[in-house]
């Protein structure tokens, strides 16, 4: 019997095996970039760079963008894009601040309402994309403007100061609470971000829903024919991403102490940068949460390292740009040799 059955030979060779490995583990490349980057900076900058305080500082600096990048990862895995994540984050923080301070809601309720507002924004994106079948790029470009306008309308362009929040709604600043671990300082916001990353990793890799997100982004028609309700998957992903942006709004308040209508503008692109450098493909279905964390850390460490090395800000931007091109180029190469 076995001799009758058809046999397919496996394509062999050392090069092929490396390629197969990279296909299965695309996170290896950003990890390598991070390790090499750290090595170079520790040589140039010296002890200061590897000091636990500096390392934990970079983690703090990437926490807000990292949070948005986690949400962005989910969306990019479905072959979508969300240009409104930064606006949703600011909107959520403004909702929290306004409800708690201007409208006198109990701070806990204001917090929940802010996160819910993020979820509603995400659901709105999801509705436009799944119900009206509009391209995510256009939809989120539109909602980005809309959410910004709502922020402007609600806040009146006003900052709510750190002292006022500390006096009436300290829970909004909870994510900024720092803990001393040896020489390192960890904020609860960073821990929240890492916890969320673990949760999302579990969801993507250990549940059927996670596999469906990958399949939907990789080949929506194939996923549909396999019995996956791709529209439901898409909608739920935008909803979830919106909720995460809402939590990011909370982390943002902890980071800057205040509620400010400023500062969300560059966050959209920064989140996409982290995702792309982390090896997640803009064409969907390929990438990982761990990669995004590494991507965010690469951006953080390169900025920090270049600044400590005394280089001008221009070179930080230049280097990040090069990393983006390299990451996208690598993804294209991987996809081409697969075909």
């Amino acid at each position: 019997m076995p001799s009758d059955t058809p046999q397919f030979e496996e394509r062999g060779g050392w090069g092929q095996r490396v390629i197969n490995f990279l296909h299965g583990n695309p996170t290896v490349i950003p990890l390598l970039v991070l390790v090499i980057g750290l090595a170079i900076f520790s040589m140039i900058v010296g002890k200061r760079f590897f000091h636990p305080f500096n390392l934990s500082l970079v983690l703090q600096q990437v926490t807000v963008i990292g949070m948005l990048a986690l949400a962005q990862t989910l969306i990019i895995l479905t072959a979508g894009i969300d240009l409104s994540v930064g606006a949703i984050m600011v909107l959520a923080s403004v909702v929290m601040g306004q409800l708690a301070l201007t409208y006198g809601w109990p701070p806990e309720l204001a917090l929940v309402a802010g996160i819910a507002a993020g979820g509603i924004c995400g659901a709105l994106n999801g509705l436009f994309i799944t119900l009206l079948r509009l391209p995510p790029f256009i939809v989120t470009l539109g909602t980005w403007s809309i959410f910004n306008a709502v922020v402007q309308f609600w806040s009146g362009g006003q900052t709510i100061r750190q002292q006022e929040i500390a006096a009436t709604a300290p829970i909004l600043q909870w994510t900024g609470t720092a803990m001393q671990v040896g020489a390192a300082r960890l904020t609860l916001g960073s821990i929240l971000m890492l916890g969320l990353a673990v949760f999302l990793w579990y969801m993507l890799n250990r549940t059927a829903y996670g596999r469906h997100i990958y399949a939907t982004g990789n080949d929506a028609e194939a996923a549909r024919l396999s019995g996956i309700n791709t529209r439901r998957v898409l909608f739920s992903v935008y909803l979830l991403a919106g909720g995460i942006c809402g939590v990011a709004g909370w982390v943002l308040i902890g980071r800057i102490g205040a509620v400010s209508p400023l500062g969300g503008a560059s966050a959209n692109l920064d989140s996409i940068t982290a995702v792309v450098i982390g090896g997640t493909s803009l064409f969907g279905g390929r990438g990982s949460i761990l990669g995004t964390l590494i991507g965010a850390l690469i951006v953080g460490f390169f900025r920090n390292g270049l600044a400590l090395a005394g280089l001008d800000v221009l070179w930080q931007e230049f280097t990040i740009g090069c990393l983006i091109i390299m990451a996208v180029g690598f993804d294209q190469w991987l996809r081409r040799i697969a075909a």
Binding site: L57, N148, Q152, Q162, I256, G263, R303, L308, D312
Partner: protein
């Protein structure tokens, strides 16, 4: 039936087209346009409020436009074009790109519109008939001098951190920064260029994009470069608030660091009262806007063009130093007094 309804629609459109120019010609009402950089910024928000209130008071029509982001020239060009088409009498503009907007401004002037630059002078300055602005160099000088006098002898070995806005070195950004240096007694070298100084007291320049997040990130990086920082210059008050969070996290919120800023927004003034900001230079956006509206109405009625302040190339709308730790020889107002005049 279908044909008829098309005909009716065509007739209606034609009638509308004919009546529009007629309506415009009849309507001799004065229209004032305000174009700002971005919407989500209390400074511009206040400007708009001021212009709107003044327009109402004088009984003229008012229309406001804003760019989508700082540096968004295209949207401002469109706004100017729209105002020309709408037959505006005058335009108040806070230019995002002070050079690129100039040809469009010329078009407006050719159409007989009075153009006044607010807050930021155009390049060249004569591109607008008048400029109503804060003397940003002087605003920087005031806080620089305050810091120097407060430190006294210790100013000679201060460690100064600079958190500016953008690496593209916009004029306002550079003027405040260089003004601070001038006031503090640092050789600015080229006064139109930031970063060419070699004074060892400068710890470094970081770009905070004028926001809290940027202020905190920038301060953290500069503290990593030199933990002994004892003077901080910030481009505006949100940046100062962000920098303060970083100082607090580093345990340097005990008053050992002098934080200085420019703007005079209400949250900023309250931060002076709370000891977060040592001193800030207050500017008057509401005044800029309302003076601008007045000038346009004046021009529309009898053709007068506003004259620049004495000794300056623009109309100075004034700067006041706000601090609760006044120093001798430097005029200042307290945060309590400032709270009555603050904006945003």
């Amino acid at each position: 039936m279908k044909k008829n309804s098309w005909l009716a629609l065509g007739g209606a459109v034609a009638a509308l087209c004919l009546s529009l120019p007629a309506a415009q010609a009849q309507d001799k009402e004065i229209l004032v346009g305000l174009i700002t950089k971005t919407d989500p910024n209390p400074f511009f928000y206040k400007m708009r409020e001021g212009a709107e209130a003044k327009s109402k008071e004088l009984g003229v029509k008012f229309q406001a436009f804003a760019g989508k982001f700082d540096g968004d020239n295209d949207t401002q060009v469109q706004a100017v074009e729209n105002l020309i088409a709408a037959g505006a009498s005058g335009i108040l503009i806070v230019a995002s790109d002070t050079k690129a907007i100039v040809p469009t401004i010329q078009k407006a002037r050719d159409a007989g519109i009075l153009v006044i630059a607010l807050d930021t002078p155009l390049e060249p300055m004569e591109a607008a008939q008048a400029t109503f602005a804060t003397d940003n160099f002087h605003a920087g000088q005031l806080i620089g001098e305050w810091a120097k006098r407060t430190l006294g002898d210790k100013a000679a070995d201060a460690h100064i951190a600079f958190i500016d806005a953008h690496e593209s070195q916009p004029t306002v950004d550079v003027a405040r920064d260089q003004g601070f240096m001038d006031g503090f007694g640092i050789d600015t070298k080229d006064v139109n260029r930031r970063g060419d100084e070699d004074d060892p007291r400068i710890v470094g320049h970081e770009m905070g994009e004028g926001s809290e997040v940027g202020g905190r990130n920038g301060m953290e990086t500069l503290l990593q470069k030199n933990f002994d920082v004892n003077v901080v210059y910030t481009i505006n008050e949100p940046t100062a608030a962000g920098a303060w969070e970083a100082l607090k996290a580093a345990g340097k919120d005990d008053g050992s660091v002098l934080v200085t800023s420019v703007d005079g927004g209400c949250p900023g003034v309250k931060n002076v009262a709370d000891g977060v900001i040592g001193a800030t230079s207050m500017q008057f956006p509401l005044l800029m806007a309302s003076l601008g509206v007045e000038a346009i109405v004046e021009h529309a009625k009898n053709g007068t063009v506003p004259e620049p302040s004495e000794g300056l190339t623009f109309t100075n709308t004034g700067v006041k130093l706000v601090t609760d730790k006044p120093v001798e020889g430097l005029e200042s107002i307290t945060s309590e007094e400032a709270l009555k005049e603050c904006w945003g």
